[in-house]
Each structure stands twice: as structure tokens, then as C-alpha cells.
């Protein structure tokens, strides 16, 4: 049997996404409510930032505009990942309800099928809000729109999305062994987003080292933002770190893929 061309595989997934859109539009009211609530959620996070800066003009060496830039880069990356890969945090449910079994008997990859069958279109709202916040921050912080900066403004959220996507997949895979594993997953994905939304300087010692370098969250928004703001790192890291996002995302994606493969291989199912 000839291996199918990649293009026609993509066409199959496009059809599956379209089917999901039609399914979700079957519940119009709930879809609109979800969409609105997702915009509101981002608004609440943004409000936190604004409240802090209402009290202090500068936070750990960063102004409101600077912080918004970090926040915008992180939010956009995270919301993109959440849109495409976020549904995987329902892995436990897929194991329990048997959706995983249903997916395994079809001639397509398991991960992409699960993502497509459970894609949350309401999360489009968050991506849009993230874009708006980032655009405003770029303007407020007076980032010069040089070709290099524009490139960085595109690759940073994409790399961030890949990185957060890898986090989602890697932590959700734990559900293969441990059916109730939601807390760990939430700590590393949503917790990671909160961490990346602020300049690294606001966090203290070992915690900063663990998240920024140990887990790689520093590359998602903070270091690229320093380049965009054209300022040196108060913590003394070299500027080129800001361009390492894609590299770190590639490493994270590779690790996540390995963890996922191992998980699927050891999938034990929940019985009949």
C-alpha cells in the first residue's frame, strides 16, 4: 500500500476541522458565550497587570509598556498553543470515554486526530485579544519596526506556541499512566503562562532559575522582549538569548513527541 501524500493527509484534517466547526455551530448560543467568556478571561489577566502599575510606576525595572510587551508576547504564544493543542488536557477523559480507542482504530495519527476531534474554536477569541494587546504594547513601548524586530515579533509567538504546545502534550501524556493528572498539567501550562507574562526580574532566586532556564520559559517572551526594547538584561544574560526561542521550541517539541510516543505505546486502556 503506497504511503499517502502529505498534502492529502492535510486535506483530511481540514475536513475533520470543518466537521468540528459545523458540530460546534450546532450549539450557537453556547458557542458565542464561550467566545465572549474567553475574551473576558484574558481581560482579567490584563487587568491584574494594570492594577499593579496603578500602584507602582516601575516593576522590577520595567515600565507598564515594557511589561505589556512581555505579557502580549506570552499571551499570544500561549493562546495559539491553547487553540490548537489545548484540548489535549482532556486526555484523561479521552482515555476514560474510549475516544482514544476509537481514534486508534482509524488509519491516521493519534495525536492529530484527538486534537482535531476536540478543537476548541471558542479559543479564537483569546488569540485575537492577544494580538490586540501585543499591537498596543509595541506602540506604547515605541518598538522600532525594523525588519529584524518584525521577524522577531513573528517568530517569538510562533515559537512560544510550539513550546507551550509541547508542554500541553508532555503533561497530558501523564494521563496514560495516571488517569487523574490534571493538576500537574495545569501547573506547567497555565502556571507557565503566568510566569512568562511578567519580566523575569520580578521573580526571586531559585524559582526564577528553575522556570526560566530549567524549564525554558524565559525564552518565550522575556529575552525576545529585551531585544525589542533594545535594553540589556538587568540580570546580565547576553542579548542573543532572545533569538533562541525557535531552538528551545524545537527541543521541547522533540522531547514532547518522545514522551507522547512512549505514552501511546504503554497505553493500557480502561477495560471495556
Amino acid at each position: 500500500m503506497a504511503e499517502p501524500a502529505a498534502a492529502s493527509t492535510a486535506a483530511i484534517y481540514r475536513r475533520l476541522v470543518a466537521a468540528q466547526v459545523r458540530s460546534q455551530l450546532a450549539y450557537r448560543v453556547s458557542f458565542v458565550l464561550d467566545l465572549v467568556s474567553n475574551v473576558v478571561f484574558l481581560g482579567a489577566d490584563l487587568l491584574t497587570v494594570l492594577v499593579v502599575f496603578h500602584r507602582v510606576p516601575v516593576l522590577a525595572g520595567f515600565s507598564l509598556a515594557d511589561t505589556l510587551l512581555v505579557f502580549g508576547l506570552a499571551s499570544l504564544g500561549f493562546s495559539l498553543a491553547e487553540l490548537i493543542v489545548g484540548s489535549i488536557d482532556r486526555m484523561q477523559r479521552h482515555v476514560r470515554t474510549g475516544l482514544l480507542d476509537a481514534v486508534l482504530i482509524r488509519p491516521l495519527g493519534v495525536l492529530w486526530q484527538l486534537l482535531v476531534l476536540d478543537v476548541g474554536l471558542r479559543r479564537v477569541g483569546r488569540v485575537c485579544s492577544g494580538l490586540v494587546v501585543l499591537a498596543i504594547a509595541v506602540r506604547l513601548a515605541g518598538v522600532p519596526l525594523t525588519p529584524a524586530n518584525l521577524l522577531l515579533l513573528v517568530i517569538t509567538p510562533v515559537a512560544g506556541a510550539v513550546f507551550f504546545g509541547a508542554m500541553f502534550v508532555a503533561t497530558a501524556t501523564v494521563a496514560f499512566w495516571w488517569v487523574d493528572s490534571g493538576e500537574l498539567s495545569a501547573a506547567l501550562t497555565h502556571g507557565g503562562r503566568d510566569f512568562t507574562s511578567y519580566p523575569l526580574t520580578v521573580f526571586g532566586g531559585w524559582f526564577r532559575h528553575l522556570f526560566a532556564f530549567g524549564l525554558g520559559f524565559g525564552f518565550v517572551a522575556y529575552y525576545p522582549a529585551l531585544i525589542l526594547l533594545d535594553r540589556p538584561d538587568p540580570l546580565g544574560a547576553p542579548a542573543w538569548l532572545g533569538w533562541c526561542g525557535p531552538l528551545q521550541a524545537a527541543v521541547a517539541a522533540t522531547l514532547a513527541a518522545l514522551i507522547w510516543r512512549t505514552g501511546v505505546r504503554h497505553y493500557r486502556s480502561t477495560g471495556s
Partner: protein, 335 residues
């Protein structure tokens, strides 16, 4: 569903010493937990030839679904060898998926919020079936399973019987060589059950599609399967025809006769036992070796027979006996 010589051997399924262990953690004291391996499938040998319609039986928790999941590439076996259509299920999952169809009675392959028709169209693309082939198979299923009245209804609004007919169709549209059915009649009403059975019987008769069926409904088995494999505690305890099972467990037929007047004396025939006498009615039980004909011709010499009935042994009874005896002595299994 056509035979174009896609593979050589007649054995569509071959399993040798197939096993699956699950690790369970048992609480011992406050913090200590002990890991224990429990064998859900414990060394199953199974050979299924092309075109067979095999009933796979066993009490709850015997390992039926686990076996099916290992044959379909869902679960990785802990030990033993398995090949389906000449492929090894887990590493060759995607190749195998194109050549088998699977219906899990309690799980759906259909898109819940979309019309049934849309699911079929999506499956056509997922399995890359040429449009004409797909249309021909769908036509056949629509006729045999009478899908037309609800083809445009969203799946969530279908009755269970309608949905199951829809699921069967979904599993067949890519022309699988083997069809695996895990409790396809569970929860269905009598009419739907008959529709499903009738369809499967017809599919089995063509000999193109090998069918493996698990069920708790023994009427499915009697209607459909010439060969049954019974497993219990993860092991095969019977593999053969239903008749062989009756012989092995000494199933007894029952003959009930009504005389005009009770006969004075009764004959002593080998393998025939008088079970009960209620007025003019006599009930005999017959071992498998005894002949009903001999008994009846003897009885007609004793008096005037008003009524007579012969009851075949109940398959339920035989299976229950089998489960019970295995439960008592799981080590004494038939090789």
C-alpha cells in the same frame, strides 16, 4: 468486500500465547502500596480462517475486550505473538486499520452532532476510499439495514438501534477483510437485534468478510456462529462447535409426553431418565447418546399419546455450566 488476493494465507488471525498483564496497585497500610500484575489475557491461542464467523464468549472480565483490543492494534500485548491479515497490530496499526472494521457496542465511530450521512463522507476521506466503491457499499448497507429514514438525522438524535445500524455501516464502508464486533447487540430491542443479526448472517455467508463477535446474548451465537471460543480468566476453555460443547457438558434433551391414561410400566432404555410424573404427563431427560426416536417408538406401544414435545438443550445452560466449572477449578482447563 471483494477478494483481490491482498494476502496469501488462509489464516486471517493468528495468536500464540497472547497475554496482557495490567498492573494494579493495592493499598497496604497508610502509605505503602503494593504493585501486582494481573493477567487479563493469559496465553490465548487463536486461529481464525478467512470467511469464518467466530463467536468469542466469556463472562464479564474474562478478557474478551482486551483480546479484541490487542487484535485491532489498540493495546500492546504483554507477551505472545499475534498477526492479523499478515500484519502485527500495534507497530503496523495504520496499515491494519485500513483492512479491518471495528464496532465497539458502547463506543461510537460517528460524529455526534452531524447527520449520519456526514460521518460516512468523513470516513470515506479518512480511509481514502474511491467514491464509486464507497457509494456502492453504502447503497448495499442502506438497503439491508434500512438507513434511509434517518440518514440526515444528527447522530445524537438516533435511537440506539438506529445508531448501531449506523455504526455497522461505518465499519464496513472501507471494505474490511475482518470485522470485529464487541457486543453489537447490547441494549437493542428485539427488532433491532434481529436486523443486526440478519445483516451479519448475510455478510458472513458471502465468505468475503471474516467476523469476530463478542456477545453476552447467546441468541446471537446460536443464530450466527458455527464456531465459538469461550474464554474465562484470560484462558481459552472451549474452542469448537456448539454441539461439541453440549457433548462435553453432557447436555440433555428433554421429552415430554401426555398419555390418555398413565401407562402401567415404563421401559428401561439406556441414557433415558424419567424426570417427573404429573398425572398423565411424563418428562424424560436424554443423554446425548440416547435416541429420541427409540424412546418415542417405545412409548407409543405403551398407550395412546395425546401430545409430545422435544426440547433441545439450552445453550444458556451449557454456557452457565461451563463458566461455573471454570470458576471452581480454573486450573483444570481443556488443552
Amino acid at each position: 468486500m471483494n477478494d483481490d488476493g491482498r494476502h496469501g494465507g488462509v489464516n486471517v488471525i493468528e495468536a500464540r500465547g497472547l497475554r496482557k498483564d495490567f498492573t494494579v496497585r493495592v493499598r497496604k497500610g497508610l502509605l505503602r502500596r503494593e504493585r501486582r500484575d494481573v493477567a487479563a489475557v493469559d496465553g490465548v491461542d487463536l486461529t481464525v480462517q478467512r470467511g469464518e464467523l467466530l463467536g468469542y464468549l466469556g463472562p464479564n472480565g474474562a478478557g474478551k475486550s482486551t483480546t479484541l483490543k490487542m487484535l485491532t492494534g489498540v493495546l500492546h500485548p504483554s507477551g505472545g505473538r499475534v498477526s492479523v491479515c499478515g500484519l502485527t497490530p500495534v507497530p503496523q496499526r495504520i496499515l491494519l486499520a485500513r483492512r479491518i472494521g471495528v464496532v465497539f457496542g458502547q463506543r461510537s465511530q460517528l460524529w455526534w452532532d452531524l447527520p449520519l450521512r456526514d460521518s460516512y463522507e468523513l470516513l470515506r476521506h479518512i480511509y481514502r476510499v474511491p467514491a464509486a466503491e464507497h457509494a456502492a457499499r453504502l447503497r448495499r448497507c442502506r438497503d439491508l439495514l434500512e438507513l434511509d429514514p434517518f440518514l440526515d438525522t444528527p447522530v445524537r438524535q438516533l435511537s440506539l438501534g438506529q445508531r448501531m445500524r449506523g455504526e455497522l455501516t461505518a465499519a464496513l464502508l472501507h471494505g474490511p477483510e475482518v470485522l470485529f464486533l464487541d457486543e453489537p447487540t447490547i441494549g437493542l430491542d428485539v427488532v433491532s437485534k434481529q436486523a443486526v443479526r440478519g445483516f451479519l448472517a448475510e455478510l458472513g455467508e458471502t465468505g468475503d468478510t471474516t467476523i469476530v463477535l463478542t456477545t453476552h446474548d447467546l441468541a446471537d451465537i446460536e443464530r450466527l456462529c458455527r464456531r465459538i471460543v469461550v474464554i474465562d480468566h484470560g484462558r481459552v476453555v472451549h474452542d469448537g462447535g456448539i454441539d461439541a460443547l453440549h457433548t462435553r457438558y453432557g447436555s440433555q434433551r428433554r421429552v415430554t409426553v401426555d398419555f390418555d391414561t398413565p401407562p402401567p410400566a415404563l421401559p428401561d432404555l439406556p441414557g433415558v431418565h424419567l424426570e417427573a410424573t404429573t398425572g398423565p404427563r411424563l418428562t424424560f431427560t436424554l443423554d446425548t447418546s440416547a435416541s429420541v426416536g427409540t424412546l418415542i417408538s417405545t412409548l407409543t406401544t405403551l398407550g395412546n399419546l395425546r401430545d409430545l414435545s422435544v426440547t433441545e438443550p439450552e445453550i444458556e445452560e451449557v454456557i452457565a455450566r461451563l463458566y461455573r466449572s471454570e470458576g471452581r477449578a480454573p486450573s483444570q482447563r481443556n488443552p
